[in-house]
Point group: C2
Chain length 344, copies 2
DNA sequence: ATTTTCCGAGCAATCGATTCCGCATTTTGG
DNA sequence: CCAAAATGCGGAATCGATTGCTCGGAAAAT
């Protein structure tokens, strides 16, 4: 009936016991008689007692909370990674605080402050695109606070990180296109200052070379991988090289932009031009034909990242060595790349 | 240089002051000399002092944290609402804890417990599909804890809520199709136990009636609004009524499922059949042609919901009356519905 | 010059749970 | 049967920041 929450002290008076006894009864730690424990637990249930997490956290120096900083929360990728993070954290009894940097280094710094003052026990970060300087994360390491980067990670060896093997994924995709008989494969690449884009581009080059195909600059175009830029990239490529028989783009959105252009040029997908993207966005199942793409294991990335982080949190003297996990992507083959029988 | 974080007590000893003075210097509250304030602030900066949020929260009885429970975090809608929530909360200096119920009433209950013990100052909830009984939210109200529902709200008058005017949005969409000259408009509806789907269906019926068009059962089909069910629905509708000249679906995914079916039947979009969906999912810009749809004002819903919640949090004796906000959706007209000139 | 204000700062209690220490009482073992 | 050990529980300190109360001294007022 009491409106405000019951405290341990209240339980104590009602049962003529001391607060310490109540605490022990509820936690099951320490020496306590079975009978008392029962009595306490029963009353706690009756009064709908709920421990004050803040007080416990303060006393124990453990907030049971993890912090996450992502560039943004909308859009498939991070939402799915977050799902994995939230899942893993919850299972381990941890809460999660999520912050968005909005792709802004300043925001990112503020987010970090917020999480630090909130006394989180560990932090997961995917860097914003505008973050050049990772100095602010130095403070975290100096504070001996577990820190794990995922997906967008700084190029430092001494940090823990979970990343995708972009190179492998891209290589497999191009391999697959080659296997379909394509020989003039174009590439729509992303900003080369991003290592993920660089790796996808490198894989494209290497896969061609492995098949003794020459590198043809008229088959390569870099852009920001948005929908309109994808469209424009396709137009440019078609103009430069009307003979192309496949396109591998560094993300799915670019492919989505390219499709109408190809169709407008009277080219059939996949018979005339095979397509493969990267990310396995949900919408790849909504295009016609469905897109071949590379799955990024989003949820697994999230789960892996929390696992790493929680391992670090568990290690007492926080004297862990930085660990680095590389997830293997999975090529998802759909209609957009299947030239059953080929044309040559 | 000190690895562990500096506390107020530390600052106090270093400056030969008492903790209370430090606290007042930092907060700017209470009587304190300008000089002392400067000295304290400077040292705080030097030592990179960061207040312990837990301690302050415990003492002040205010955690400065809000809790959110959503059915899931992936997928456009909730991610975008969350963005709005996070934005609004951050601006007001509040942190956000996000929980996913996974469309599971049991999980939802657990999430609630988690948030309560975390001492959040207010809770935002969008109900899971399997939640029939909202008893567990009664506890929250009894605790006098501000509570705001959004989008998926319980059918109770005495709770605060932010919802979309589904009826209006759907009505406008059908109006628009009628305006394009369509007369045999089909409807792919969602589960009728969900009020949002019911409202969209009602609007469809009412709009037709307003134009003196008869209700034709062969033009209506209900399903779960998934991609495959959308496809199947379209097949059924075409079979029942090959003459249909437009389709209004209760969500975008169903339209995406319907499109290939229409195309396979040799019908052109929008010349032969005009299409309109609901939700303004991101992928509606990726289809060919782009989809006409109803925007749900996701971010605004998020921002509105936090604003309501924070208003409630601010009111001292929490004696607020429940408030209900109905957001007006926005019809987004794109190619899929534009029969410029019509066909007769 | 003396009294009244006021100002800056310290003391100590407080938020609620946890935990080390210690005191009785009971149980065990020799 | 008595010493030693184990058991059940209470007392009190603690985590770190906040805040009401108090107090000495300086400034202002009479």
């Amino acid at each position: 009936m009491n409106l405000s929450r019951a405290s341990i002290a209240e339980l104590a008076t009602k049962l003529n016991l001391s607060p310490s006894t109540i605490s022990r009864a509820l936690s099951g730690q320490g020496r306590i008689s079975e009978e008392t424990r029962q009595r306490v637990r029963q009353l706690a249930q009756e009064l709908n007692y709920q421990p004050n997490h803040l007080a416990a956290a303060l006393r124990k120096g453990r907030s049971n909370t993890l912090g996450v900083i992502v560039p943004h929360i909308d859009g498939d990728f991070f939402a799915r990674v977050l799902k994995g993070i939230e899942h893993g954290a919850t299972q381990a009894g941890f809460n999660v605080m999520v912050c968005q940097s909005n792709e802004n280094a300043g925001h990112e710094k503020k987010n970090l402050d917020t999480l630090l003052t909130a006394q989180v026990e560990g932090i997961l970060v995917s860097l914003s695109l505008t973050t050049k300087d990772v100095q602010h994360f130095e403070d975290v390491r100096r504070r001996d606070l577990p820190l794990v980067f995922f997906d967008r990670v700084p190029e430092l060896p001494q940090v823990s990180a979970v990343v995708l093997d972009d190179y492998q994924g891209a290589y497999q995709a191009v391999e697959h296109l080659l296997g379909q008989g394509c020989r003039r494969i174009a590439h729509i690449g992303g900003p080369q200052h991003l290592n993920i884009c660089r790796n996808r581009y490198r894989a494209y080059c290497d896969a061609l070379r492995a098949h003794d195909l020459p590198y043809d600059p008229t088959l390569v175009h870099f852009c920001d991988l948005t929908l309109p830029e994808g469209r424009q990239a396709m137009e440019t490529l078609l103009e430069q090289n009307p003979q192309l028989d496949a396109v591998f783009a560094a993300n799915d959105l670019a492919v989505a932009g390219a499709m109408p252009v190809l169709r407008a040029a009277g080219l059939r997908i996949p018979q005339d031009v095979a397509l493969a993207g990267f990310s396995n966005e949900l919408f790849t199942l909504l295009t016609e034909p469905h897109l071949t793409t590379v799955d990024q294991r989003c949820e697994e990335m999230g789960r892996t990242a929390v696992r790493l982080l929680l391992d670090m949190v568990a290690e007492q003297p926080h004297q862990y060595a930085p660990r680095r996990v590389v997830l293997q992507p999975e090529l998802v083959i759909r209609e957009s790349s299947q030239q059953a029988g080929g044309r040559g």
